[in-house]
């Protein structure tokens, strides 16, 4: 397994707080007999399942959507300190056991029951952030969760050590550096090692004991802890041996009745708990995010841990013991894996993430989440009713898509430089920065800012044009992203943003529905949508909750929306001119003169403000490619220059330039892999770029003409001969056939017969080497060369089988 993670150095500062020691003790100590946690079954995973089922039941019961009036959901943004309660309650809601011990029945041991009964009266207050036991918990935080039915309470620690003991000296110093073994995850003081290390080494590090074990010896002398000192286990160890759980906080609330704080937890699983068990490629600190939720009381939460995506994880090598890696989501119903969506997207903001109202309307988004969960529970049954592809708000059954086993080639593969280069050259990978378009981006930013920050917000529109692959859409999107950051920072007033691609609409009229959906979140037919939009923009009526905010509309491929009477474009471009519309339209298309092609009343509304994205020149292309390839040594500098010059001369399309480079990298990769020589220079050279360019730009007809059958070549020669003789591009089959027969006669070739010749002509027509009418016209069929006669002459001149063809060309 090639883990690219560097060894962890445990540089702990002395803990600033040991927050909950006293507090926890009071209820964790096994001596308090009346509050003994219920007995636990031995199995590990079913427990969690059971808790899931139970918790789901609650959800369905008191879903705020189902009972909108009964439940008042307050919105509180303040951080509140919970009142310290004097008699703490043991929470055992995770237990599978339904029977309640009569001794403890006075406390809400089984909140499941009580909750379902109390549904009607219940009040909840939702929070964003809660300070509990002097630690702040926020939505989205990862925490350790206590398993109240801990299997062996003897081992329950008096305290949870934040610093683990050294595996050799069994002491924990706060001021010496520890190093972590990548195999057994044990911690070692640098100076306890033999020989002692001065500093943390780069890359993987394996402790001496594991090395011995690996080398095959069974007799390993592991230092025994000194007598009397119990080996303290850190939370990490407990988690990885499933004595603790980890969860992500999805929601925080307080029951108003009893003042108990609850969280909705989304469980993490360790690889051992999945159906497959631990796989070879799993890292030691790997967790899976599950789609398994449970409501648990705040009491069970121990403290924070940090679950990170691979990229952050490799950076977080010095962050301590509670860092875990999570790359995959695990579906507990289907037992399948999937990459975690947000992580895969990287910093690319997806649609769902984009809600600028996150802060203000926290209760609203809560509703949505709860709705989600409910849907996913019912999803299975619902997908049986409707098709997976017919959507009523969302698609069902997609959660079934997932692999049963994470393929090893994904995890254990170490990328070579060439493969890295290929990955960054992909059109799909969004570059970190957009070189060469700063001027245009400034202009767009100024335009949008100017139009939305006006108090009036006079609607305006802008037309952006340029040939494909000049970065029009991506520039606008990155401007919007920057603006979003500014909205969050508070320097720009909030707005809503709707993005539409003309070519992805079923019909131009559908754009109304899409805009309406973007503004209000509901789907209606286009006629109704048009009516409401007219009311919204022309008369200033509100749609739903969306109000007062200016709206930015980005329409990509604007030219597709041109209908016969051009009413769609007219409507859309007319709204911005209305006084209360607060609408800004950005139109993107390829043609420069689109406004001029339209009716004058439309062009007068659209053509005022234009921005041209010119084709890139070779220097810009070179810069684009080399910024992408920064830090990767895979290309010769001249090769990049060659590619960019070539593309700049032809189209100036950045996509094309990137594709050529990627193709060249592929060619080089293929060459190196096939030749099986461990070449020292794994560089893409000029020749590879040349091959890629040839493949991309050269029409393949010459090669085909060279290799077609003998009679086809004679046929083509006859056509060229006929063209030279008559000067007419178009001939008939009658004449060509006569020429062929005379050529064959003079050069001693057998003439095959008209019908066979006709078939040959039609085959050539199918490849579009010649243009021809259907073969049923036979003698009267009209034929024409599809390529210049010089190409044919060039292709057929030096023919080894038929040297005499040159006489006729």
């Amino acid at each position: 397994m090639a883990s690219s993670l560097s060894s962890k150095a445990k540089t702990f500062k002395s803990p600033t707080k040991t927050p909950t020691k006293m507090y926890r003790k009071s209820y964790l100590s096994p001596s308090s007999t009346s509050l003994t946690p219920p007995q636990t079954p031995e199995t590990l995973t079913p427990l969690r399942r059971s808790s899931r089922h139970v918790s789901r039941k609650i959800n369905l019961g008191n879903d705020p959507i189902d009972l909108p009036g009964k439940e008042s959901v307050e919105e509180i943004n303040l951080i509140r300190k919970p009142r310290k309660r004097t008699n703490d309650i043991v929470v055992a809601e995770k237990s599978k056991k339904k029977k309640i011990d009569p001794e403890v029945s006075f406390s809400p041991v089984s909140p499941i029951r009580s909750e379902t009964k109390k549904t009607k009266k219940k009040k909840r207050v939702y929070y964003n952030k809660v300070e509990f036991d002097e630690t702040e918990f926020e939505i989205g935080d990862d925490v350790y969760v206590k398993r109240t039915e801990d299997a062996n309470p003897d081992e329950e620690e008096e305290e949870d050590p934040e610093i683990e003991d050294c595996q050799i000296c069994f002491k924990s110093h706060t001021n010496t550096i520890m190093i972590e073994c990548d195999d057994c995850l044990g911690g070692f003081h640098l100076n306890c090692l033999k020989p002692p290390l001065k500093e943390v080494p780069e890359g993987d590090w394996i402790c001496q004991f594991c090395e011995v074990k690996k080398s095959g010896q069974t007799l390993v002398v592991v230092p025994k802890p000194p007598e009397g000192k119990k080996l303290a286990r850190t939370m990490k160890e407990k988690l990885l041996s499933s004595d603790l759980w980890a969860a992500r906080i999805e929601k925080l609330w307080k029951e108003v009745d009893d003042g108990v704080y609850w969280i909705r937890a989304r469980w993490y699983m360790i690889p051992e708990e999945t159906v497959l068990g631990r796989q070879r490629h799993n890292l030691k600190r790997e967790l899976y995010l599950t789609n398994d939720f449970a409501d648990i009381e705040m009491e069970c939460v121990l403290r924070h841990c940090f679950v990170k995506c691979p990229k952050e994880f490799s950076k977080a090598s010095n962050d301590g013991d509670d860092v875990f890696l999570c790359e995959y989501e695990y579906d507990v119903h289907w037992g399948s894996f999937k990459r975690v969506a947000e992580l895969a997207d990287g910093d690319e903001d997806s649609d769902q993430e984009w809600n600028g109202r996150k802060e203000e309307e926290i209760d609203y988004s809560d509703e949505e989440i709860e709705f989600d969960d409910e849907e996913s529970v019912r999803g299975v049954s619902k997908s049986k009713r409707g098709g997976a592809n017919s959507r009523k708000g969302r698609f069902f059954g997609l959660e079934k898509v997932g692999m049963k086993r994470i393929p090893e080639h994904v995890r254990c593969h170490k990328q070579s430089e060439l493969e890295k280069a290929k990955a960054t050259l992909l059109l799909a990978t969004r570059p970190k920065s957009l070189p060469c378009r700063s001027k245009e981006m400034e202009e767009i930013t100024a335009f949008i800012k100017g139009s939305i920050s006006d108090d009036q917000c006079l609607g305006r529109c802008m037309y952006i044009h340029g040939v494909p692959g000049t970065g029009k859409t991506i520039s606008v999107l990155s401007v919007m992203k920057n603006l979003k950051a500014e909205v969050e920072a508070g320097s720009v007033s909030p707005y809503c943003f709707v993005e539409i691609n003309g070519l992805k609409l079923a019909s131009p009229e559908n754009i109304y529905s899409v805009i309406y959906e973007g503004l209000s979140g509901h789907r209606v037919g286009w006629k109704k949508a048009l009516q409401s939009l007219n009311e919204r923009f022309a008369e200033g009526k509100k749609i739903g909750k969306e109000n007062e905010k200016p709206c930015i509309l980005l329409i990509d491929e604007l030219d597709v929306l041109v209908t016969r009477n051009q009413s769609v474009l007219y409507n859309i471009l007319d709204w911005p001119t209305k006084p209360n519309s607060k609408l800004v339209v950005l139109g993107i298309a390829n043609t420069m003169d689109l406004p001029e092609k339209l009716l004058p009343r439309i062009s007068s509304r659209m053509g005022i403000q234009r921005l041209c994205f010119g084709p890139y020149n070779h220097r810009q292309l070179q810069e684009i490619i080399s910024t992408r390839l920064e830090g990767i040594n895979a290309f010769e500098k001249t090769a990049i220059e060659f590619a960019s010059r070539k593309v700049a001369a032809i189209s100036g399309d950045a996509r094309r330039a990137l594709e050529i480079c990627r193709r060249a990298a592929e060619v080089a990769d293929y060459r190196l892999k096939k030749s099986n020589i461990s070449a020292k220079s794994q560089l893409v050279i000029m020749a590879d770029v040349e091959v890629a360019i040839q493949e991309m730009f050269q029409a393949p007809h010459i090669q085909v003409m060279k290799s077609v059958s003998k009679l086809s070549r004679i046929f083509l020669t006859a056509m060229v001969h006929e063209l030279y003789k008559t000067g007419m591009a178009e001939t008939s089959f009658d004449r060509v056939a006569t020429t062929v027969s005379s050529i064959c006669l003079t050069n001693g070739e057998a003439f095959p017969g008209w019908d066979i010749l006709l078939k040959i002509g039609c085959d050539l027509g199918e490849c579009r080497i010649v243009l021809c009418e259907p073969g049923e016209k036979h003698r009267l069929q009209k034929l024409q060369l599809n390529f210049p006669s010089d190409d044919v002459a060039f292709a057929l001149k030096d023919n080894k089988d038929l040297p005499w063809l040159a006489n006729y060309l």
Binding site: K338, A341, A388, N389, V401, V410, A428, E666, D755, H778
Partner: protein, 417 residues
């Protein structure tokens, strides 16, 4: 059915081989320069590296584009059993965008055991496909879209291609679009914004060289030594094949075949014909089988049509030909009858028929497409007044009449003047 004779058994074996593209194309794809290995390399790196790609397979019909692709995809399906799904579309069936989206959604549903609804709208389907691409990308699953008759998709607004290629511009999707077309200019048909999104990997499939075809012949027809045939039979059969390949007459047959069409597909058809004609008693292939196969491959329908004409029909054809020679480029039944009458008056032939009989013969000629209407206009006119055209050339007519069983000598003279 009783026990098969060795001859029947070998016949079945060879036919089975001919119909199995992987058996035919495996030896042609062995070298590292072959399209097969390049194609497989690209698709497999797209799977392992999780990237998107789009490519075009170009080449004349019958050169094995789809077969080689199937071979490569089949190998990859074995290599990565869970993580590849193939969606197949054909331009002749799904050139309509709406219908293509529906078909993709349907195949995706089938692949992942989801329920498909016929009622879903275009919007729903296209969003479903994008959601599906994302879900599959997150699960490290690659979707391979095979678009056969790619040029047919490049008509109209090209919504399908745009949507597919645009969806592939996101990191989470993991898909390969493979277009197959016999039009060499297929990529020029793409609209410029679609072309800009296309990756432009092109594979050109050329007809194999003569040596490769000879190797293929032996590969297809030689029987394996250990397959339950009587021991003498296998060696006799293989010896016969070896003799054939060294025979000059056989070489001439192959040469005639390849002169006209040198693609693998036509070669396979040729062998199939020959094998079907095999004499089941001796159980061996002979030169005559191949000769017959060649003549059945290269038939001359127009010539045969002339050979089967009645004498009256020949008269009519000759009349039309004479009119053409007289530079009377447009003629109808009436003018042909005038010419017919003139011939009869000057030569006093025995074959003179009434006008309605001639009209009947004329109709027969048109039904066999030896002649046709000159233009589609004037459908209101009755047949006899509409302008006609001869669909057969003078030399073909001459040749056909000479091989005709009972062609009057005067007709040949009339044709030559």
């Amino acid at each position: 059915m009783g026990k098969e004779t060795p001859a029947e058994k070998s016949l079945n074996l060879i036919r089975g081989r001919l119909c199995d593209p992987s058996y035919v194309f495996r030896p042609l794809s062995a070298s590292s320069d072959s399209n097969y290995s390049k194609l497989k390399f690209i698709v497999s790196t797209s799977i392992t590296e999780g990237c998107n790609n789009s490519m075009l397979l170009l080449g004349p019909r019958g050169s094995g584009k789809a077969a080689v692709l199937d071979l490569g995809v089949g190998d990859l399906l074995e290599q990565f059993p869970d993580s590849v799904s193939v969606i197949r579309l054909n331009g002749l069936l799904h050139s309509d965008d709406n219908c293509a989206f529906k078909e993709i959604a349907k195949q995706l549903c089938m692949e992942h055991h989801l329920l498909f609804s016929k009622m879903a709208s275009f919007d729903d389907n296209s969003q479903f496909i994008i959601a599906m691409l994302r879900a599959c990308g997150l699960a490290h699953k690659t979707i391979i879209f095979v678009l056969d008759e790619f040029d047919m998709f490049a008509q109209g607004k090209q919504r399908l291609l745009y949507s597919l290629l645009d969806a592939m511009q996101s990191v989470t999707s993991q898909a390969v679009v493979v277009g197959i077309s016999s039009r060499l200019d297929a990529d020029q048909l793409l609209e410029k914004r679609v072309r800009s999104r296309f990756s432009h990997r092109k594979f050109l499939f050329l007809p194999p060289s003569r040596e490769e075809l000879d190797g293929l012949f032996v590969h297809l027809l030689s029987l394996p030594a250990d397959s339950g045939f009587p021991s003498g039979y296998v060696s006799r059969f293989n010896d016969k094949i070896k003799n054939l390949t060294s025979d000059t007459r056989f070489k001439d047959i192959l040469k005639t075949l390849f002169n006209a069409n040198s693609t693998v597909n036509s070669f396979l058809k040729f062998i199939f014909c020959a094998v079907s004609l095999m004499n089941l008693e001796s159980g061996l292939l002979s030169l005559e089988n191949f000769k017959a196969a060649l003549s059945s491959m290269q038939r001359q329908p127009k010539l045969e049509a002339v050979r089967d004409c009645s004498v009256l029909e020949l008269y009519l054809l000759v009349c039309m030909r004479r009119l053409e020679v007289k530079e009377q480029s447009s003629y109808n039944f009436i003018s042909v009858m005038k010419e017919y009458k003139a011939i009869h008056d000057s030569f006093h032939t025995s074959d003179y028929y009434a006008q309605n009989v001639c009209l009947r013969a004329f109709e027969h000629l048109r039904e066999r497409q030896v002649i046709c209407y000159a233009e589609n206009r004037g459908q209101s006119q009755t047949g006899e007044y509409r302008l006609q055209k001869l669909l057969i050339s003078a030399s073909e007519l001459h040749q056909g009449m000479r091989s005709h069983a009972c062609c009057p000598a005067i007709l040949l003279k009339l044709l030559d003047h």
